[in-house]
Every structure is written in structure tokens, then in C-alpha cells.
């Protein structure tokens, strides 16, 4: 066999192997998606969005409920029974999840943006700024359950109980490094000549940053925020010890608050069929929420690329 033939054979083997493994990877990905979509949509119905958590149904009650949903005729006793049935929903978890995510965004975004601004605009390449960058990178890969235990120690334990606030703190801490680093990177993409131009017009540094540099980086920073929200939306571990969970509709943040993730965990591991169904519905809603945020984030980011491309073309002409 000549050297060229050998190379061709090796090339084919490597290509075939890597393709095979890519297919295996993609197969599992689509399997997960298929199972989620199938079970999720089967479990999804309107009452989920309007009802809160309720005790699980007995086997008989479940039978009656399924019968009525399928449109079968019910006996008088069964109809009587049906009117007593309390159907569980996820309203409490959806609202709780939104409150936690919104609260965490409210806390995490300003701190993250300001810290990122410090690191890029004031710290630049100083040792301190680089230390913050390194620590953020470490924080980003820290196991989320560790952050949960940390917040348990500094918030839950001193205040004497699980609360929505503790959950918000935990999620905000998770967002912080992501937003800090994206802000840092996006501000870094703004050219120095733009900064100099603002300074040369007599702008004080803070006005240069807020009025010129932020404008140049706003799409990138916004994308970072969306991706950070998407990231924390799927977290369970930091909420287990902080906001805990509840089966009731609760908007008081000093009390334990339900979240889709923890609810999903509890329902999915329960022995009751109707609760398991709700677990699937929760999974689908959560996945849809995260997917939506990711799509919006990517579209924003690609819009930015398109606009810079357009400018580049114009300059060339």
C-alpha cells in the first residue's frame, strides 16, 4: 500500500468514527427532546396555568377525571365525585419562578454591570481587575449547590427560615459572574478611539462611559443578561436550601416560594400519577422559557453582527 493510499484509508476511518460519535451524541439529544415534548404536551392543559398545587388524587378520582376528559359518560355518583375533585396546577410554581428570576435579575444585573464596568474601564489591566476576572471565572464554574449552601449559611440560618429573598440572593450570586464577564468583554469591543473622541470633546470619564461606551456595547450587554437569566432559570440546587418550595400560591418573599425546578423535582419523584404528569408539564414550560430567552439572546447578538457588517461594507465602498 502506498503512502497516499494509507493516508486516504486513515482519513476515511477518522471521518467515519467522528461521524458515528456525532450521530450518537445527536441521537441522545433528540431523544431527550422527543421524550420531553411528548410527555410534556400530553400533560399540558389550561388548568395547569390557573390552578395551584393540590393534594394528589386517589386512583378512583384519577379514573373519573380521565373519563371526563375523554368525554365519556359519567354516572351520577361520578359526577358528584368530579365536582369535589381539586385538580393540581402549576400557577404557584410559574409565578414563584418568575418572581425569583425577576428578583435575581433586579439584584444581579446592576451589580454585575457596574462591576464589569469597573474591571474594564477603571481597573483595565491592573492586578486587582485581573483578580476579579479570575474569581468570576471560578465562580462561574462553581457547583451551584455550593452557592446554595453558602446562602443557607448567610441568609437562611440567620433569618431563621427559608424565604424567597434567600432564593433571590442565591440566583443573583449565580448571575453575577456571567454578567460581569460579558459586560467586561463587550466594553472591551468598543474601540478606544471612541472613548478618546468623547474625552476630546470635554466629556468627564463617567459621562464618556454612560453616554458613549454603553451605547456602543448595549446589545452585547443585553444578550449577556438574557443568557444569564436563562442560566439561572434552570437551577434547582441553589433553591433547595433557600427559597425551598411550597404547594401553595405565595407572593410574600419572606416565606418559602415555589419554583418550577424544585416543584418539578418533587412532583416527578412522587408516587402519584397526576403529580408525575405535572412534573412533565413543568419541565416543558421551563424548557420553553429557557429556549425562548436563548433565541432572543442569539437573535440580538446576530443583529449586532449584521449591523457591523453593514457598516464595514459601506466603509469599503
Amino acid at each position: 500500500m502506498s503512502a497516499t493510499d494509507r493516508r486516504k484509508v486513515i482519513n476515511k476511518i477518522v471521518l467515519a468514527t467522528s461521524t458515528l460519535f456525532a450521530v450518537i451524541g445527536i441521537f441522545f439529544l433528540f431523544w431527550i427532546l422527543f421524550v420531553l415534548l411528548k410527555n410534556g404536551f400530553e400533560a399540558l392543559n389550561l388548568s395547569i396555568f390557573f390552578n395551584d398545587g393540590a393534594p394528589p388524587l386517589s386512583v378512583e378520582e384519577l379514573e373519573i377525571l380521565n373519563k371526563s376528559r375523554e368525554g365519556l359518560e359519567l354516572s351520577e355518583f361520578e359526577q358528584e365525585e368530579l365536582s369535589w375533585i381539586e385538580i393540581s396546577g402549576l400557577r404557584h410554581a410559574i409565578i414563584g419562578q418568575l418572581m425569583l428570576a425577576f428578583g435575581a435579575t433586579l439584584v444581579g444585573v446592576p451589580i454585575g454591570i457596574l462591576a464589569g464596568t469597573y474591571v474594564r474601564e477603571y481597573g483595565a489591566d491592573s492586578k486587582f481587575a485581573n483578580l476579579i476576572r479570575d474569581l468570576s471565572d471560578v465562580m462561574m464554574s462553581a457547583p451551584s449547590i455550593v452557592i446554595g449552601t453558602f446562602v443557607y449559611a448567610i441568609v437562611v440560618s440567620p433569618t431563621g427560615g427559608f424565604s424567597g429573598y434567600a432564593g433571590i440572593v442565591a440566583l443573583a450570586i449565580m448571575m453575577l459572574p456571567i454578567i460581569l464577564r460579558t459586560t467586561d468583554d463587550m466594553l472591551g469591543l468598543v474601540s478606544n478611539t471612541l472613548r478618546e473622541a468623547a474625552i476630546a470633546l470635554g466629556a468627564p470619564k463617567y459621562k464618556m462611559i454612560m453616554q458613549v461606551v454603553y451605547r456602543g456595547a448595549k446589545v452585547g450587554i443585553l444578550t449577556g443578561i438574557l443568557l444569564a437569566v436563562a442560566r439561572i432559570a434552570g437551577e434547582t440546587a441553589p433553591l433547595l436550601f433557600t427559597s425551598f418550595n411550597t404547594n401553595f400560591f405565595e407572593t410574600n418573599l419572606t416565606e418559602p416560594i415555589a419554583s418550577l425546578t424544585v416543584t418539578m423535582f418533587n412532583y416527578a419523584t412522587s408516587p402519584y400519577e397526576d403529580w408525575q404528569q405535572l412534573g412533565w408539564a413543568a419541565a416543558l414550560i421551563l424548557a420553553g422559557f429557557v429556549l425562548g430567552l436563548n433565541i432572543v439572546g442569539r437573535v440580538l447578538l446576530s443583529m449586532k453582527h449584521i449591523s457591523t457588517k453593514k457598516i464595514f461594507k459601506k466603509r469599503k465602498r
Binding site: T193, L194, R195, E196, A197, A198, I199, A200, L201, G202, A203, P204, K207, Q211, V212, R215, G216, S307, I311, K314, R315, R317
Partner: protein, 256 residues
């Protein structure tokens, strides 16, 4: 001969970048004459841009740079530590090599410097903006679309926008750092014409790599080499009959 007034006086001025072991500018002495165009020429690395950027102290944006000597302007040494840099930069404007339109509308770009000075009145702003755009020879092209993004303008238009933005705050001096090096010949011609019109109102210092450009538009020329000011004089004299051998060699294209 008309009376020459020195607008800005560079005296025994040395400059060293942060962390550098030698001075980038060595004891420069240079008068900048009022309402004239002074060109700074010399090969790359000679310090002409460094000198220009010292005149409005834009170097201060980066820490650790060191100034020595004096730059006298309006009766004070602007290198002193207590100089009000924000005020200084409204008196001495700057145009950069690449157009630096801000990511906002044409109107807001011009209004930016004015708003920094505390001008809020809409009619005053509109009047000043129109005047500035006319002064920057851009009014006719943009008057119908002042609210368009400045990014949508061509490179040459963006550079004229930057000039309009600089003259809007009515500075005494404008520093040009190779303002046409990123532009096509037609845009370059427009900017050169503009610079010659502007000198009735402002004093101009321009750094250029293009010797024809220096010859066309400047009244005085300073030739710099490796951080030293080799020769300064009227442009005609520098280009036709320089005193220094080094100047002659550079002008005739023997190095650079």
C-alpha cells in the same frame, strides 16, 4: 507681513510613555501660530502624533505617562497638575485618524459636546447644530435626515461629522491626527478644503504622512525625527529650501 500671534507655545517639552525607558519626545520647542495651519511631518515613530496628543492631554486617559517642560496656552501651562482638563478639551478639539461617530443620531452626535457644556434649550441647540454642520460642509447632505444613525453616513461624511462636532463647541484650536488617511481622494479633497476654510476661525495643527497634503494646506511645517524637532518654519521654506540636511533628505523621499 501680517502680525503673528502665538496661540500655543511648546517649550522644552519632553514626554515619556508609561513603562518606557526613554523619552519619546525630547525637549521640543514649537510655536503654534494663531489662525494658521501648522503641519507636523516626519517618518513613523518620530513622535508627531505623540506631540499632537499632548496638546489636549488625551494621554491622560491612560495612566503613568509623564510630561516635562511647558505647553503654554491662554496664559497658563496646561501641563500643570491642576489644569482643568475638561475645560481645556473644549478649548482644544481633536479629529482622529478614523472617523469616530458616536453610536447615536447625526443630531445627537453634534449635540453631545454642546450638552456637555450645559446647553439644553432646544432652539439654541438646533441653531448651533445647523451652524456646526454648515461649518463642517455637511449640512446640505444631512439636513433632511438629522435623526438617522450616524453609522449610516459614508466614511468621508462621518469625518466631516466629527469636524462639525468639534467646531460646534467653538474651540480655539483643533488638532487633526492624519484626518484623511482612511478616506478616498474625493473625501480627502473635501476635508482639505474645509481645513483651509476653518483657519479663519480656529488655529489648526495637523499631523500628516502625506507631504503633498502638508504642502497644499499648511502655512507652517515642523519636521520631526526620532523624538526631536529637526526644523520648523514656513511651509514654502521647509519644502523648497530647508536648512537641515535631514529635512532635505526626508522631503526628497530618501527615507521615511
Amino acid at each position: 507681513m501680517e502680525k503673528e500671534i502665538i496661540d500655543l507655545e511648546v517649550k522644552d517639552f519632553s514626554f515619556r510613555y508609561a513603562g518606557a525607558s526613554a523619552d519619546s519626545l525630547k525637549k521640543i520647542n514649537l510655536p503654534i501660530i494663531k489662525n494658521k495651519v501648522t503641519a507636523l511631518i516626519g517618518p513613523s515613530g518620530c513622535g508627531k502624533t505623540t506631540l499632537l496628543r499632548s496638546l489636549n492631554r488625551i494621554h491622560d486617559l491612560y495612566p503613568g505617562n509623564e510630561y516635562r517642560g511647558e505647553v503654554n496656552f491662554e496664559g497658563r501651562n496646561i501641563l500643570s497638575a491642576d489644569e482643568d482638563l475638561i475645560h481645556l478639551r473644549t478649548r482644544i478639539g481633536m479629529i482622529f485618524q478614523k472617523p469616530t461617530a458616536f453610536p447615536m443620531s447625526i443630531y445627537e452626535n453634534i449635540a453631545y459636546g454642546l450638552k456637555l457644556q450645559g446647553i439644553k434649550d432646544k432652539t439654541v441647540l438646533s441653531g448651533r447644530i445647523e451652524k456646526a454642520l454648515k461649518g463642517g460642509a455637511l449640512w446640505g447632505e444631512v439636513k433632511e435626515r438629522l435623526n438617522d444613525e450616524a453609522d449610516a453616513l459614508s466614511g468621508g461624511q462621518q469625518q466631516r461629522l466629527c469636524i462639525s462636532r468639534a467646531i460646534a463647541v467653538e474651540p480655539e484650536i483643533i488638532l487633526f491626527d492624519e484626518p484623511t488617511s482612511a478616506l478616498d481622494p474625493i473625501s480627502t479633497e473635501a476635508i482639505e478644503k474645509l481645513i483651509m476654510e476653518l483657519k479663519d476661525e480656529v488655529t489648526i495643527v495637523i499631523v500628516t504622512h502625506n507631504m503633498q497634503q502638508a504642502q497644499r494646506i499648511s502655512d507652517y511645517t515642523a519636521f520631526m525625527y526620532l523624538g526631536d524637532l529637526i526644523e520648523y518654519g514656513e511651509t514654502d521654506k521647509i519644502f523648497n529650501n530647508p536648512d537641515e540636511e535631514l529635512t532635505k533628505q526626508y522631503i526628497s523621499g530618501q527615507f521615511g
